[in-house]
């Protein structure tokens, strides 16, 4: 699983990185990515994203 990042909404604040329990998210300079092999679909990042930039992804 992996969360989907809407890059046109994300401002790169990195808030989601700190709440991810499994260190699946990385913000590289300003680009956020999710490591599908780590993500456990808990939704914490989706809930706290101030900009509504994250959503449940499809399993890929």
């Amino acid at each position: 699983m992996a969360v989907k990042v809407n890059h046109s909404k994300c401002i790169g604040c990195a808030g989601c990185v700190g709440v991810c329990p499994v260190l699946a998210l990385t913000l590289e300079e300003n680009k956020l990515s999710c490591d599908a092999s780590k993500c456990i679909d808990c939704g914490a990042c989706i809930k706290i994203c101030p900009f509504g930039a994250l959503s449940k992804g499809d399993s890929k």
Binding site: C16, L23, E28, K47, F51
Partner: protein
């Protein structure tokens, strides 16, 4: 470039560059790894900086360096009642962090620290159980840097500190999710203005931090576990106050997530220190962490220099930093966390009642951790609040 240092700092925010400045001044070879191409940009902050931190900076700054002067704070209850508060916590500045963080980085560089922007720390280097360095992607190429001391000043992310075993992960309950606009054409007074209320900002508040006569940071933070949409709430707040924002327009979109819980339980281990927001050193009432980050950076550097002189970078040697920091800040932050947990339980009606009973002098005392007088008066008139307020009495 050299790859061996006395200390490697991850993160070039106020904590990291303050550590680097003082450690370099004391003779250490310090490397600061920062993933962004710039220090202080993009800004994710309200930029409020209270007067008391001037004494902590250990740097010559002029008023111009510090930005707009604030003469106090105005706090609004849900029903609009306003209390103005003037003390050394509410007077101060609204910084231009693009300049301020750059200035801190400049001073670190001047003191002799090596700054490495566009570098992402990606993991620890270990020999057996011992951490001996860091791997980083510098402009996309992996490099290894060695040092007997690693300092995490990573802010909210803290991935390297977590890899090193520190409990820096955030529960959504312990953060505020914030959206902020820098706006011009705002009618503002030189006061930090805060609005409370469950409709305005569930478990959080709305703020206007003026940066000049007609422009300000305007934001809203909501409790991270509420699932509320701070952007919509901010747009509503602005729409509901044409008297301030009727002629205003947005010049920058900012925001982010900030710690409003307790500091982490342990801040050092063998060859490792965690400083600033990475260590959750943030005021749980307003989410302010710039001054605390600088203070922690400077204290940590003092103890790192002792380790540098003795060659002993063990947890026992480094833990003096944590002890000193807790001695200065822990009690106050603990009281403020208690206060936060009370405020967030109040209904708007209760909040209005509390505010009707509150004078500016009371708020002064409350912010300094003296709750009893006000709490007792409130409960006398509204006994149903005893359940919520008793932790303060």
């Amino acid at each position: 470039m050299r790859t061996d240092f006395d200390a490697i700092v991850v993160g070039g925010g106020p904590a990291g560059t303050s550590f680097a400045r003082k450690a370099a001044e004391g003779g250490m070879n310090v490397l600061v790894i920062e993933k962004k191409k710039d220090f202080g940009v993009p800004v994710r902050c309200g930029e409020g900086f209270s007067e008391r931190w001037n004494q902590v900076l250990e740097m010559n700054v002029s008023d111009a360096d510090l930005g707009a002067r604030m003469k106090g704070a105005a706090v609004f209850a849900p029903n609009g009642k306003k209390i103005v508060l003037v003390n050394d916590q509410t007077t101060g500045y609204v910084l231009e962090r693009k300049m301020f963080d750059k200035r801190l980085a400049l001073e670190a560089g001047r003191a002799g620290a090596t700054l490495l922007p566009k570098s992402l720390a990606i993991g620890l280097v270990k020999e057996g159980n011992k951490t001996t360095g860091l791997r980083a992607l510098h402009e996309g190429v992996e490099k290894v840097f060695k040092a007997p001391l690693i300092v995490s000043a990573e802010g909210m992310e803290a991935k390297i500190a977590r890899e090193a075993g520190f409990d820096c992960k955030y529960d959504p309950y312990d953060v505020d999710a914030c959206v902020e606009y820098e706006m011009v054409g705002v009618k503002c007074e030189p006061l930090i203005a805060l609005w409370f209320g469950n409709e305005i900002a569930p478990r959080g508040y709305a703020w206007v931090f003026p940066k000049g006569v007609d422009y300000a940071n305007v934001g809203i933070g909501v409790g991270g576990s509420t699932g509320a949409d701070p952007k919509k709430l901010l747009d509503d707040f602005i729409g509901n106050h044409p008297e301030f924002f009727g002629d205003a327009t947005v010049v920058e979109v900012k925001g982010g997530v900030i710690s409003v819980g307790a500091p982490i339980k342990k801040m050092t281990s063998d060859g490792f220190m965690v400083i600033g927001t990475a260590a959750h050193q943030v005021d749980p009432i307003h989410g302010g962490g710039i001054g605390l980050a600088i203070e922690a950076g400077l204290i940590a550097a003092k103890h790192a220099l002792k380790a540098f002189e003795s060659g002993d970078y063990s947890d026992a040697a480094l833990s003096g930093y944590e002890k000193e920091w807790r001695g200065l800040e822990e009690e106050k932050l603990g009281k403020r966390l208690k206060l936060r947990h009370v405020i967030e339980k109040l209904s708007d009606d209760d909040f209005n009642h509390v505010f009707n009973e509150t004078r500016s002098k009371d708020l002064d005392e409350v912010l300094n951790g003296h709750f009893q007088g006000l709490a007792a008066r409130i409960v006398l008139k509204r006994p149903s609040l005893l359940k919520v307020l008793k932790v303060l009495i």
